[in-house]
């Protein structure tokens, strides 16, 4: 019990810091499984993300990202199978195209550093945890979105 209290104290101190709110899209077959593996392996990462599961990263509409930013989400991650590994043969190739195009718009809006597209396989639990950690730090540096 003691340990928990101690970390709670730390938490209070931490509470004053800016804690980013990040939406993370995961595809059912690879990256969601990678996120699960991070858990099974107990790789720790900041509690900054909220995962939204979709069947394929090809389901993620660029509009979801814009909607997230509109709703004051500080950062958005889109993850899927590595190119060539897609459970739906070629879905993630469309994802790649779509988000390369969206990136141009985000650049224009000054939001490009708040968005990232990454490929995570089911055995890359570590990579998933590291991605969330570095991305969270990156957003922390940028500050809350409404401050822009």
């Amino acid at each position: 019990m003691k340990i928990v209290e101690k970390s709670d104290k730390k938490q209070v101190k931490k509470d004053r810091e800016f804690k980013p709110n990040i939406v993370c899209f995961c595809c059912n077959w690879c990256s969601y499984a990678g996120a699960d593996l991070a858990g099974v392996s107990r790789f720790q990462y900041p509690a900054s993300i909220r995962i939204i599961r979709v069947m394929c990263s090809g389901r993620v509409e660029p509009a979801f990202i814009l909607k997230s930013f509109k709703d004051n989400v500080d950062g958005v991650l889109v993850t899927g199978c590595h190119i060539g590994d897609c459970h739906y043969i070629s879905g993630n190739e469309f994802t790649k195209d779509r988000f390369e195009r969206l990136m141009k718009i985000l650049k224009y809006l000054g939001l490009k550093d708040r968005f990232r597209l990454e490929w995570i396989s089911a055995s890359e639990g570590k990579k998933f945890a590291e991605l969330v950690t570095t991305f969270t730090n990156q957003i922390k540096k940028l500050g809350p979105l409404n401050n822009i």
């Binding site: 969601y32 979709v54 469309f94 945890a129």
Partner: protein, 1041 residues
């Protein structure tokens, strides 16, 4: 059907058992089990180790696509686990078998896990507290460490722990029992004893795989040194969930090696002290491991010491070339004399002869990876004895005949995968479907007799979308796995306050059976129309909860699952406040989505129980027969006037030297005489419409006779052609420069007068193949074919001089290496390289027709000799007419023109389009053995569908909202499954009618990936369960406070 036939069939079925025993839970056993249940048979899957998955689960990536091995395997493992008709018995062994084909009695020994499989939740609390420190982790090839209570690997199936009885303090010294105190689920049971289980089955499949016993290698390979490891050990090192978390480190100092040497054929193809055969997969996985190493660290240097390069499969040769050209992997054509360690640095010195320059060299490497022989499982002889079957001289299981490698010599016992002989994953998977088909042909009369049909007693509740959502939420503590790190009571109180949440409860284990009862009670008591469980991952548990909802009369698509363990409590163990907030948010987001969920219908699709086989070669014949035998009308279409395909052009076949015509005859006769088979000779397919279960096909026969047929499935077995070399080696002008097939035709005549004037014959291999441009692949069968013909010629005319010019000899697979060594005495073997092709010139008035000049690669010198007849081994190529068929079937071709399967590794004989299958040379050049095995596989895949009568389509599909659709067709362009068509719809406006194009999605083909919905410019596609509104609601709910 007459009465007498009926009764005879009855007595036939009396003794048959509609179940099969599968021994071995690797990919072979997994695939066979899944196929069998779909064909209507119950399966007992017995695995010796605590988890299924086998060797494939240990691999990091798979060649030649670099697919993550576990990513593609794990869903199949879970499928086995969740399949109600597979009785999974891990940590168990078959100890006794009696009975006969159709009815075997089996005794199985279930070893004690000391953990109750039904109670263990796989949380791992026990292992974290287990004091006994560290035993070598077998799954990590003994590189990593584990506790004495352990799970073999995180994704193990069943996800259940076990106690290593050799290690456990309590079991050995009577003290400790810490795990028992820690386990909240009270799953530890030290009282467990070995248990004998008796079952009855109709057939047995043996799929016990292989071992990699490096410890038995001769000393010169240096395996005793710390930094010399086997390739399977290296797979674990490469793997992100391996002992070094995916960092490439060597064992002596856990530092990153800079120079890595990969040694192929380490101990194999050795007729003196090693293993005589070629393990078949090492050339490829070595290239893969080198490529992955370079991807890990581009600055590392990878050296591959090779002998022959055997890259015979689809995209294999190109892959080895990419390793060199794109990744800078250096290949040495070499012979290794020995590997020694520098004791100071622990580096290795490889002493080798470079066959390219003929000199001896040393190479210093920081790490050496040995491609050691893959050998039959240690148990193979023991298992053979129990089953009463034989092993061959290599201790692989002995097949029934050379051309029926899927059957053992004992009726009703079948062989599958590496335990019969070396092969790669796709071949294993195709064979698995093949043995499932073999079982089906034996037991088809008792199909569906032992399957558990799920009966739902509660009728489905009618949901009006206008009704106020009434949501029930169950939040799981998962013992202490969630509860310790997330404040569940606080989350619960918060969730209760959300609009539309009618009831919210928490419990210790949501997955236990009493919790399922509780869920059903809640749904009934509160008249709920939505349900949410917040616990672990939907990947393993969604189906369970969905079934519970269905049993309570709730459409399963009204269930939503939240992952607050794997993706929350387990990854935020020291952030209780933030973790709790995250759990609240995640559940609240699910509640927001849940409000918008709609019940989805799983429509039933009837299946026409008839099959169409395109192509009447050996593959087509085998597939046709196998389907017809099982009682389905089968249409066989052949474009020529005669059945038999390429076999009609061959003299004797490899490897048994039977006359092709004699070999073919019984098959052709059986097909011709079978009442279920309709043969269409001189015919072509001219139109195909429809989808799985319901294809309308038009067959046009010469003379324009047209047949319309309706079939449920289609098998493409159209074969391949030999390349006619046209310009090469003056083939067109010279009548004594011929192809292998032309030689076969000469031999077929049986009159060998044509040989009288011939004193010397030269075979040239790899003509116009394995090049940098043009045909880049290895055609797999030419080497063995050429050697076969050399042996035949030598027999016909013993004083004939025979010379074979080769680049690499493709002699993989069981027995071929010896076949090659035996053939060596009949010919002179000379080696050439791609940059110095042999030159053939015509002699003038000489004794011989041609002079052949060659730079002998191994001897490093020019060689000249004379010959009368030159045989060119040209590759098999995809015929031109594949294009047309590919368009009609809407299935793709690969870059070489062969048909492209749905997935290179795990769906090798399916097309991405459901209901269309593939076998034989239409897929890739292959010999008769392989074609027959694959045709069995294709028949098996097809039988799954034909025997089902009707199919359920998934509710996770895309739907077109017709009013919004503008008919642009963008959705159809991106659909990977050809599920979308533009159709013309008449729309009547006040006083005029317009014909409009509208998109139409075939729910039988749609897989619900949703990419069409994103592509639609007018939001006219609704992606069920992941709709635009639902996902937007989730985003909105996240930060609403």
């Amino acid at each position: 059907m007459s009465k007498s036939k009926n009764s005879s069939q009855k007595s036939q079925t009396d003794d048959l058992i509609g179940a099969a025993l599968v021994i071995g839970g690797g990919i072979a056993g997994i695939q066979a089990s899944l196929d069998l249940t779909e064909m209507g048979f119950k399966v007992f899957l017995v695995e010796k180790t605590p988890s299924i998955g086998g060797r494939m689960a240990q691999l990091d990536k798979t060649f030649p696509t670099n697919d993550c091995s576990l990513c593609i395997l794990a869903p199949k493992m879970v499928e086995v686990f969740r399949n109600p008709n597979i009785k999974l018995m891990t940590y168990s062994e078959v100890i006794e078998v009696s009975g006969h084909a159709g009815h075997f009695f089996i005794k199985i020994l279930k070893k004690p896990r000391y953990v109750d499989e039904d109670k263990c939740k796989g949380c791992g609390d026990c292992a974290s507290k287990c004091p006994k420190i560290e035993a070598p982790n077998i799954f990590d090839m003994n590189l990593g460490r584990r506790k004495s209570i352990y799970i073999p690997f995180p994704q193990a199936v069943p996800p259940v722990y076990l106690i290593d009885s050799d290690m456990c303090l309590f079991l050995n010294k009577g003290v400790c029992r810490v795990c028992e105190r820690i386990c909240e689920a009270q799953a530890i049971n030290f009282e467990q004893k070995p248990e004998e289980v008796q079952i009855e089955v109709g057939a047995i499949i043996v799929a016990i795989g292989f071992d990699m016993l490096a410890s038995k290698l001769p000393d010169n390979w240096g395996y005793k040194y710390e930094n010399v490891i086997t390739s399977l050990e290296y797979e674990r090192i490469l793997c992100a969930s391996g002992p070094f978390e995916g960092h490439v480190l060597r064992l002596s100092d856990e530092k990153e090696p800079h120079k890595i040497a990969f040694i192929q054929c380490a101990g194999s193809r050795d007729f003196h002290i090693g293993i005589p055969y070629c393990s078949s997969v090492c050339c490829m996985y070595t290239a893969k491991e080198a490529i992955i190493t370079k991807e890990h660290s581009n600055s590392s240097e990878c050296y591959i010491f090779r002998h022959d390069l055997r890259a015979y499969g689809k995209n294999f040769y190109e892959y080895t070339q990419r390793a060199q050209d794109e990744y800078g992997v250096k290949y040495f054509n070499s012979k290794i004399s020995k590997i020694v360690e520098d004791p100071k640095t622990k580096d290795l010195i490889i002493k080798y002869e470079d066959l390219d320059d003929g000199k001896f060299h040393d190479l210093r490497a920081n790490l050496v990876v040995l491609a050691t022989p893959l050998v039959p499982s240690e148990d193979s002889e023991k298992v053979a004895k129990i089953l009463g079957i034989n092993v061959d001289k290599y201790k692989f299981f002995k097949e029934k005949t050379l051309y029926d490698k899927l059957s053992s010599e004992q009726e009703g016992i079948f062989l599958c995968g590496f335990c019969q002989g070396p092969l790669d994953i796709p071949e294993t998977v195709a064979d698995a479907s093949g043995v499932a088909n073999k079982v089906s042909t034996l037991l088809y009369l008792v199909r569906n007799t032992l399957l558990k049909e799920k009966v739902v007693s509660v009728p489905e509740k009618k949901i009006n979308l206008e009704d106020e959502p009434c949501i029930g939420v169950m939040i799981c503590h998962c013992g202490i796995n969630i509860g310790k790190y997330v404040d569940v009571p606080q989350v619960l109180e918060y969730i209760k306050t959300l609009p539309n949440v009618t009831v919210a409860v928490d419990n210790l284990y949501s997955c236990s059976s009493d919790s399922q009862t509780r869920i059903k009670e809640l749904i009934a008591e509160y008249d709920l129309n939505r349900f949410i469980v917040a616990s672990c991952t939907p990947r393993t548990h969604e189906k369970l909860f969905q079934e519970t909802c269905e049993e309570a009369g709730l459409n399963k698509y009204l269930f939503e699952m939240v992952n607050i363990r794997d993706q929350c409590s387990w990854v935020h163990m020291e952030q209780k406040v933030d973790g709790t907030k995250k759990a609240k948010d995640l559940i609240e987001m699910a509640v927001a989505k849940s409000r918008l969920l709609k019940p989805q219908k799983e429509s039933k699709l009837s299946i026409t129980p008839e099959a169409l086989i395109i192509g009447g070669g050996i593959s087509g014949l085998i597939a046709t027969l196998n389907i017809a035998i099982q009682g389905f009308t089968t249409h066989l279409v052949e474009k020529e006037s005669k059945l038999g395909g390429n076999l009609n052009n061959l003299y004797q076949i490899f490897p048994g030297y039977q006359k092709a015509s004699e070999f073919l005859e019984p098959f052709v006769n059986k097909v011709k005489s079978h009442s279920n088979i309709n043969i269409y000779l001189n015919s072509n397919i001219t139109e195909i419409r429809g989808y799985i279960g319901n294809y309308d096909v038009i067959i046009t026969t010469k003379g324009n006779k047209v047949n319309n047929i309706k079939v449920g499935i289609i098998i493409v077995a159209t074969g391949a052609n030999e390349l006619i070399p046209e310009t090469i080696y003056n083939y067109k002008k010279e009548k004594n420069v011929i192809t292998q097939l032309e030689l076969e035709q000469k031999l077929r005549k049986e009159n060998i007068e044509w040989l009288d004037n011939i004193k010397s014959i030269t075979f040239i291999l790899c003509v116009n193949s394995r090049q940098k441009e043009g045909i880049t692949y290895c055609s797999n069968i030419c080497c063995t074919n050429a050697l076969k013909n050399i042996n035949i010629l030598k027999k016909l005319k013993p004083d004939l001089a025979l010379i074979l010019i080769y680049r690499d000899l493709q002699m993989s697979k069981k027995g071929n290496e010896e076949f090659y060594r035996d053939s060596r005495k009949n010919a002179l073997f000379l080696r050439y390289s791609l940059d110095k092709l042999p030159i053939i010139s015509k002699t003038k008035n000489g004794k011989f027709n041609y002079k052949i000049t060659l730079f002998e690669h191994n001897l490093k010198g020019e060689v000249e000799f004379y010959g009368d007849l030159i045989i060119l081994a040209t590759p098999m190529i995809a015929p031109e007419n594949f294009k047309e068929l590919s368009k009609m079937l809407k299935v793709p071709q690969d870059q070489s023109g062969f048909f492209l399967e749905a997935h290179v590794k795990l769906r090798p004989i399916d097309f991405a389009t459901d209901g269309v299958f593939l076998c034989g040379c239409a897929h890739w050049p292959k010999n008769i053995q392989e074609s027959i095995a694959q045709a069995n596989g294709a028949a098996g895949r097809a039988i799954r569908i034909l025997s089902a009568k009707e199919m359920k389509t998934s509710g996770l599909v895309a739907e077109v909202i017709e009013d919004y659709c503008i008919g642009c067709g963008k959705c159809a362009d991106v659909c990977p499954y050809n599920a979308i068509e533009l159709i013309e719809v008449e729309k009547t406006f006040e006083d005029y009618t317009l014909c409009l194009k509208k998109s139409n999605i075939n729910s039988a083909l749609c897989k619900g990936c949703g990419t069409c919905g994103v592509q639609c410019p007018n939001s006219a596609i609704f992606i069920s369960h992941f709709s635009f509104k639902q996902i937007n609601a989730m985003i909105k709910a996240y930060l609403k406070n």
